[in-house]
């Protein structure tokens, strides 16, 4: 075993070195300052919204500790919620609410077949201090030629973002979507994040 000290001319001491997992910049999971500031701002501006809403997308996962990166924010809400967000933040709206359907850049991996993924929603965009905020109302997903799924619905989790309590799309919903789409790499990242916050009672206490 390596020892902590190995000074020439001094006796060797039996002190183990704990190498640990030294973080590298690419390993670090943080929400960048611009996004963080905007989430806090949204938490305040939308705190009295009538419609259900939550921070979703990759930023929502980062807030829950998932190791992903993003340059924008997403709000998941209802159709009425999308209109309400735009009403409350009129000065920041850069794309008015409208029905929108897009093809996801990533395909689903279902039963060893790669299938296109379509997303439709009542959609709007805001730009707040140069941060793009995408608002998805009653988002639905379709895989290949299947039927459209039901609008995504959820009970928000809450995280305290510095001094603001903000609703976040629960990881359970993300897990269900990732599992259904066969995005197992994303599922694994979520599993790691969830495990990091749990009390470990398994033999040996090993997480993953």
């Amino acid at each position: 075993m390596k020892t902590l000290v190995n000074i020439p001319g001094r006796p060797s001491l039996d002190i183990p070195v704990y190498d640990g997992k030294v973080p590298k910049p690419e390993d670090v999971t943080i929400l960048n300052p611009a996004l963080l500031k905007t989430v806090i701002m949204l938490g305040g501006a939308l705190k009295d919204m009538k419609a259900k809403w939550a921070i979703g997308g990759d930023a929502g996962e980062i807030i829950k500790g998932v190791h992903v990166k993003t340059d924008h924010l997403e709000i998941l809400t209802t159709k009425e919620g999308c209109d309400e967000v735009c009403g409350l933040l009129t000065q920041y709206v850069t794309l008015q609410p409208a029905e929108k359907e897009v093809k996801s850049p990533r395909e689903a991996d279902v039963d060893a077949k790669m299938l296109p993924v379509y997303i439709k929603s009542h959609y709007a965009e805001l730009t707040i201090d140069k941060v793009r905020v995408e608002v998805y109302g009653d988002e639905q997903i379709k895989v290949g030629e299947w039927e459209w799924g039901d609008p995504l619905d959820f009970i928000p989790d809450y995280s305290y973002i510095v001094n603001r309590k903000v609703p976040i799309v629960p990881l359970r919903l993300k897990q269900e979507l990732d599992l259904g789409l066969g995005w197992l790499d994303r599922l694994e990242l979520i599993a790691i994040a969830v495990a990091s916050g749990q009390h470990h009672i398994a033999e040996g206490g090993v997480r993953h």
Partner: protein, 601 residues
């Protein structure tokens, strides 16, 4: 011979990556400065390193595997200058769990008890003189060495807010005696039945109880650096006494809250398992030029920097500064020099007086919880809230009182094996163990006490007889208690009895009156304060209000060594956390305009 490696120069070299150094290194990196952070221990990653802790109570509790290895260096101690100081060779002195090892430092395994330092503590000297007269303390502590801090609580409030947002503090406003411009970012932990009883009783008596403030996240959190924090799982393995680190990262320290964000900027370079042995200075410029350290392979590295910040633990920081000739060593005979001066134990240590009673609410009634949460606290007797006029024996300060926090411990802490006697085996002994682990009642104790006043005969210096593994002298601590607390204990403790009565306690017993001369410590507090104080003058302090060295202007420091006085509240971390951000502001000013800084934070 060791190989000497010169590292690329940086803006700031940060020594130690515990609470102080980790925050300073991170904030400066986030602000765009190139920073080198050096620590004698590893990077502790809670997701990898602490998941088996609770299965290794022996290693954690007895062998202190997450602590500083004492064979490398320790400290010698004595009560008076005419004694021969002896080295601490085992972890029996409670200060040593405060000597962290690795990124995050000792905060990996503290209890997480927090609480802002009240306004009075920053002005103990002038407030005492103006309220009670300049000679108030002279009969009790004739050699008091008491000074005001160079900044006030009001000036520190924004720094508290910054620190609390980074740390993710749980609690609520601490009441009228500790005004806060912003509440803590997280709500308090759920209240225990005992905490609720204390809250109800003290409210009924007109006091201002508030939930115990905690550095353990009570809810999912993202801090001001964008670092995600898991919430506490209340599984018990938490308290500082057995030194449990947190397997979910809910316990705030700079590894779990800050340093990763600094690394993420690409501006913070870490040198770990690296022992710093000198700050090098240039005699002609009077400035520090670099820091020398050993890596684990025995190589010597020289890390140049425009400014140096040391956030090392109290004794280690003193040792490095003294060895490096930064500051003039204090001489207790001539009362000159400031380095080593004013060192004293934590605020309310020393003689106290206790009143206690029994309530039929025990740990059996609530979960093991965590190391700091669930209880309630009052500051109504703290600091100078009670009028000290007319005391039989003058003294200053008063206690913060808390009741009802979780046990915070593992279900079965390790007990050292002993030979079997009638007291340690058999059915009689077993019967005593039942209530040891499943308490059905609690003895509630409240104690009056004052602050420990720094005196001119107490100090830190370099031991002339004992050296460390590297051949350098150990730090020597000359420390005892003074009689300040005696009069305060006798004044305040009788006032606390109605609280126990209101709570419904039975068997209420008033302890014997405190008396002078019985306060010599057999064990020291974890928190030692002073020895490299901040102050308004270099005659008694080493650092100015910006935590800049009076003597070597590009050296900055923060930590308990920089405390000007002892404080009422125990949580040293909450007192020093804000200092880190004052130092950051000072360093940024210095880098912009290299000179001795003036003005106030």
């Amino acid at each position: 011979m060791s190989t000497v490696i010169t590292e690329p120069a940086v803006d700031v070299v940060v020594l130690g990556l515990g609470t102080m150094g980790g925050l300073v290194a991170t904030q400066l990196a986030v602000d765009g400065y190139n920073v080198a952070g050096i620590d004698k221990g590893p990077f502790w990653d809670f997701t990898q390193d602490f998941s088996q802790t609770k299965y290794d109570e022996w290693g954690t509790t007895i062998m202190k595997k997450y602590d500083h290895p004492l064979p490398l260096f320790t400290t010698t101690m004595r009560n008076y200058s005419n004694q021969f100081a002896l080295p601490i060779r085992r972890y029996t002195v409670s200060q040593f769990p405060a000597n962290g090892h690795g990124v995050g430092g000792a905060a990996h395994h503290y209890s997480g008890g927090m609480g802002r330092t009240g306004a009075w503590n920053y002005t103990e000297a002038s407030s005492t003189a103006s309220r009670y007269g300049p000679n108030f303390l002279s009969t009790t502590v004739p050699n008091a060495d008491l000074f005001d801090w160079p900044y006030t609580y009001t000036e520190m409030d924004p720094y508290y807010v910054t620190y609390e947002a980074a740390w993710g503090m749980s609690g609520t406003n601490m009441g009228p005696l500790v005004p806060m411009s912003q509440n803590f970012p997280l709500p308090p932990h759920p209240t225990t039945p005992l905490g609720a009883a204390f809250q109800t009783a003290t409210e009924a008596l007109g006091y201002s109880p508030f939930p115990v403030v905690s550095a353990l996240a009570s809810a999912p959190y993202m801090n001001s650096y964008g670092v995600q924090v898991n919430e506490c799982v209340y599984d018990g393995w938490c308290s500082c006494s057995p030194c449990y680190p947190c397997e979910t990262g809910a316990k705030a320290n700079t590894a779990a809250r800050a340093v990763t964000a600094g690394v993420g900027t690409g501006k913070l370079k870490l040198a770990l398992n690296s022992y710093i042995f000198r700050i090098n200075t240039n005699q002609s410029t009077g400035l520090a030029t670099s820091v020398s350290y050993y890596d684990a392979a025995g190589n010597i590295h020289v890390q140049p920097g425009t400014a140096i910040f040391t956030g090392l633990w109290t004794f280690n920081q003193y040792n490095l500064l003294a060895k490096s000739g930064i500051g003039k060593q204090y001489n207790p005979t001539t009362v000159t020099g400031a380095l080593g001066r004013g060192a004293c134990n934590n605020g309310s240590s020393g003689t106290g007086r206790t009143v206690s009673g029994t309530l039929p609410i025990g740990y059996a009634n609530y979960q093991a919880g965590n190391g700091a949460g669930g209880g309630f606290q009052i500051y109504d007797f703290a600091d100078d809230a009670i009028d000290h006029t007319g005391m039989a024996q003058p003294g200053i300060g008063g206690p913060s009182l808390s009741v009802g926090s979780y046990t915070g411990n593992a279900p079965s802490d390790v007990s050292v094996a002993v030979g079997g006697t009638v007291n340690t085996i058999g059915s009689t002994w077993k019967a005593t163990q039942k209530n040891k682990y499943i308490h059905s009642s609690t003895t509630v104790s409240l104690a009056g006490s004052g602050v420990t006043v720094p005196t001119t005969d107490l100090l830190l210096d370099l031991d002339p007889f004992y050296s460390d593994y590297y051949g350098d002298p150990l730090t020597r601590f000359t420390e005892t208690y003074n009689n300040n607390s005696v009069g305060v204990a006798n004044l305040i403790t009788p006032l606390l009895q109605p609280i126990l009565t209101k709570m419904g306690c039975t068997n209420i017993t008033m302890g014997a009156a405190a008396v002078n001369g019985n306060s010599q410590p057999s064990s020291y507090s974890i928190h030692v304060r002073g020895g490299g104080r901040v102050g308004a003058s270099p005659t008694y302090s080493c650092y100015n209000a910006w935590h800049q060295s009076w003597d070597v202007n590009n050296v900055f420091a923060a930590g308990e060594l920089q405390n000007t006085t002892g404080c009422t509240v125990t949580p040293g971390t909450h007192t020093i956390g804000p200092m880190a951000y004052v130092a950051v502001d000072g360093i940024k000013q210095y880098l912009k305009s290299p000179q001795l800084l003036t003005g106030q934070p």
